[in-house]
């Protein structure tokens, strides 16, 4: 996906451990988003950022925190991973809101055992 990179692509971690997922963009877009995708639920917004150090919660933010210290990077942290956080995580970027589409990364498949 041009201009947006997620890392790692796959991760297996143990319950109770901290995990950080990284989203990096080269588009200089202001808005960045973290979603999780689960069967039967579609894409659900975890947190989003509307500028450096400006973040807000989405609909499923419990158990997650984010940080954005520079325009190009948006980090998602699971402070203490639980099995319910096993999911595929997508980062997205947008030039603006509300009438702009999102460009998504390739996703991170996280398994908490």
């Amino acid at each position: 996906d041009a201009g947006i990179t997620q890392s790692p692509r796959h991760k297996v971690t143990e319950t109770g451990t901290p995990v950080t997922l990284r989203c990096h963009q080269t588009e200089n877009h202001r808005y960045m988003y973290w979603y999780r995708q689960d069967p039967g639920h579609g894409l659900r917004l975890i947190h989003y950022s509307y500028g450096v150090k400006d973040t807000d919660k989405g609909e499923v933010s419990d158990g997650y925190s984010v940080s954005r210290s520079k325009t190009e990077d948006f980090l998602l942290t699971l402070e203490s991973a639980t099995s319910s956080q096993t999911s595929v995580y997508f980062c997205a970027i947008s030039a603006g809101t509300p009438n702009y589409g999102y460009t998504f990364g390739s996703g991170t498949r996280l398994t908490v055992v």
């Binding site: 988003y33 579609g42 894409l43 997508f90 809101t97 996703g107």
Partner: protein, 113 residues
């Protein structure tokens, strides 16, 4: 990955036929809509968008129709090809949440050769 398609309504079409994927959106105040395509193991990709001041918009082999009266959106794919097999999501902007997009759960399109 493949789990994205679980629990989703499925549309099965013959290669070369036209496909119509439907979506009911929730917010009558939404004024921007997008269709995304998600192939197995990849992030969602932008296909086409439409603003509420339009009823129809055409792209390459795709057409989006918007009926604001009944809050309905459809995606028409002409001459469907095996490469069109994927999960298709509609999204609407959410005026009540900083304009963030709200995604439908999706429809799985399966193209039979």
């Amino acid at each position: 990955g493949e789990s994205v398609g679980l629990h989703l309504p499925t549309l099965s079409v013959q290669e070369g036929d036209n496909s119509i994927i439907n979506c009911a959106y929730s917010n009558s105040a939404s004024d921007y809509f997008i269709w995304y395509k998600q192939e197995s193991g990849k992030g969602p990709q932008f296909i086409i968008d439409i603003r509420s001041n339009m009823d129809k918009r055409q792209g390459q082999r795709v057409t989006v129709l918007l009926n604001k009266t009944v809050k309905h959106l459809s995606l028409q794919i002409a001459a469907t090809q095996p490469g069109d097999s994927a999960v298709y999501f509609c999204a609407e902007n959410n005026r009540g949440s900083q304009g963030n997009l709200i995604f439908g759960k999706g429809t799985k399109l399966s193209v039979k050769p």
